[in-house]
């Protein structure tokens, strides 16, 4: 059974057709990528999957459930967690506090006004564990707005992980990063996928990166799926070469 399935999904903004008849299917434990030139509809696709806004038509299935009408916060509870192209974090809080928000939400105690000491300890332990996974332990006490850009993105990924996603959606995880930071992020993504069998769907513009790590790639152009398949299949596709890779090169 597929983890995520989009059938004939379209989205219009007034007269502008941002996505048309998109089909996408993804199995559990895979690392999939979406590529495409600017304005191809990649982020719109993520917004539809994560519930930022509804699809105009078509069906979105996740983990055996039709989620078209489910609101964003509940999709997170179902296991669909995303990051954003422009980092979305809690700027004035520390790294620890940022991640704690997610851990508390995952522990379903966000609304608890008087938590027990045991619960607080559990939460703290889980935050430490996550920070350890993503290598942020040393930064735990720092305010995130003071961190380097790359670290901020890692914080965002850590927060997403705190919700134990069945599917992690990463919107250009290396956007705006230097080489070293990019390498760190790539290692992180690989490790998550390899060691924890984390299912990941990500948008990326860095071709080397995409072709290096993705199991399958979907290419979007002008709101339509241009091609889909393994990196080799996609690289060989003449349409892709004409429309996208040619330009990029």
């Amino acid at each position: 059974m597929s983890l995520l399935r989009l059938t004939d999904v379209s989205r219009a903004f007034g007269k502008l057709l941002a996505l048309q008849h998109v089909e996408l299917e993804m199995e559990e434990g895979k690392l999939y990528a979406v590529i495409g030139p600017n304005g191809a509809g990649k982020t719109t696709l993520f917004n539809l999957i994560s519930g930022f806004f509804p699809a105009t038509s078509g069906e979105i299935w996740f983990d055996g459930m039709r989620i078209n009408r489910i609101d964003a916060a509940r999709r997170v509870a179902l296991g669909l967690v995303r990051t954003f192209q422009i980092t979305e974090i809690f700027p004035e809080l520390t790294v620890f506090e940022n991640v704690r928000i997610g851990v508390e939400a995952e522990a379903r105690c966000s609304a608890r006004p008087w938590p027990s000491r045991g619960l607080l300890r559990q939460i703290g332990d889980r935050v430490d564990e996550l920070l350890d996974t993503t290598g942020l332990t040393a930064q735990a006490g720092r305010t995130v707005s003071e961190l380097a850009h790359g670290d901020q993105r890692v914080v965002e990924v850590t927060m997403a992980l705190s919700r134990r996603p069945k599917l992690l959606l990463l919107d250009e995880p290396t956007a705006g990063m230097g080489q070293e930071e990019t390498a760190h992020m790539v290692t992180l993504i690989r490790d998550l996928h390899a060691r924890q069998r984390q299912s990941i769907l990500f948008i990326e513009h860095d071709m080397d990166l995409v072709f290096g790590i993705a199991d399958r790639i979907t290419v979007l152009n002008y709101g339509k799926v241009l091609a889909a398949g393994t990196p080799q299949e996609v690289a060989a596709d003449p349409l892709v070469q004409a429309a996208y890779l040619g330009e990029a090169a």
Binding site: E88, I89, F90, I101, A105, S110, A111, R112, P115, R163
Partner: protein, 314 residues
């Protein structure tokens, strides 16, 4: 950590000993009670304003409703001062709870304006419903009754009433402090910091805004109940949007991001207004207006914000 313990200890010590030191510096107990009443309301508001990031401009409605609840309860139902306070608190809290769903979806200035709208509707109801609320003339004819303990009866004179208010202030402040250190408080702050991130971590932002709004209303109701007892009087002006604005100013003046900020703001605002309006009964508005301008231009993070920055820099 230890710094916070010292600060809290100092604040409570000063509040507890006010009856001794306040007269020495020219203050009086009724003023201290009033400061606490407004500080409590502003702290409740600040839960919404400073910690959840929602600009409420209609908090006076729940403050006033708490007052009317208490006044009407004392007039018609009971002579128990404590029960009347509880009744007023519940009235404020329930009203905020009921209207929460209307405001929780709005943000920024739209949040401010819909809270104004609801507040003004309550204001005009209080002002026009002569037979029930006393209308423009206000509701009088009730007075705080002595407290009956098993062993003694305590009349609520100025000093006793101060400690009566301080008792409820401590409850209110304690509740807010506990909240802020709980997951619920963390969630409020997360919403202030980044609504979108919170939502995409699976937090139903609107429900939490509702909760924050209701709790703020409950605390405003408590403060309003105490305010009615302080004056033995309540009038529609307590629900007017200007009163809401005053509460916002207290929070900003002291520091929206600090727990004690609204208390500091209330001390400054209520204190200066009382002092200046006695010395310049005709022109005190210029002083208050000037105070706002100076505060906003030079102390945008409030008095405590500055102190905290200094402490950080040092």
């Amino acid at each position: 950590m230890s710094r916070r313990v010292y600060v809290n200890g100092a604040v409570w010590l000063l509040l507890l000993t006010a009856a001794w030191w306040l007269p020495l510096i020219g203050g009086y107990m009724a003023l201290a009670s009033r400061v606490l009443v407004y500080a409590l309301a502003a702290m409740g508001l600040n839960l919404l304003l400073g910690f959840t990031g929602c600009m409420s401009f209609g908090e006076a409605a729940y403050f006033g409703l708490g007052g009317y609840g208490t006044g009407l309860f004392l007039t018609h139902l009971t002579h128990s001062t404590v029960l009347a306070v509880v009744a007023g608190t519940i009235v404020g809290g329930i009203a905020a709870f009921i209207f929460g769903p209307l405001v929780m979806r709005r943000r920024g200035i739209y949040f401010a304006m819909i809270t104004v709208a609801i507040g003004q509707i309550f204001y005009f109801i209080a002002e026009r419903w002569n037979s029930f609320t006393g209308g423009e003339d206000g509701l009088s004819g009730f007075s705080r009754q002595p407290l009956h303990f098993g062993f003694a009866t305590v009349p609520l004179n100025a000093v006793a009433f101060y400690y009566f208010v301080l008792f409820f202030f401590a409850i209110g402040a304690g509740v807010i402090a506990l909240l802020l250190h709980s997951p619920l408080g963390h969630t409020f702050v997360a919403i202030r910091e980044n609504r979108r991130r919170a939502q995409f971590l699976g937090i139903h932002v609107e429900r939490y805004v509702w909760a924050s709004f209701a709790i703020a209303g409950l605390i405003a109701g408590l403060a309003g109940a105490l305010n009615a007892l302080q004056n033995n009087f309540i009038s529609p002006i307590n629900l007017y949007w200007v009163e809401s604005g005053n509460l916002v100013i207290m929070a900003v003046l002291g520091g929206m991001r600090s727990f004690w900020g609204p208390l500091v703001g209330a001390i400054i605002f209520v204190g200066i207004q009382d002092y200046v309006s006695s010395y310049f009964p005709n022109n005190w508005e210029t002083f208050i207006g000037g105070l706002f301008i100076i505060a906003v231009m030079f102390f945008p993070n409030g008095i405590l914000g500055i102190i905290r920055q200094r402490a950080k820099a040092a």
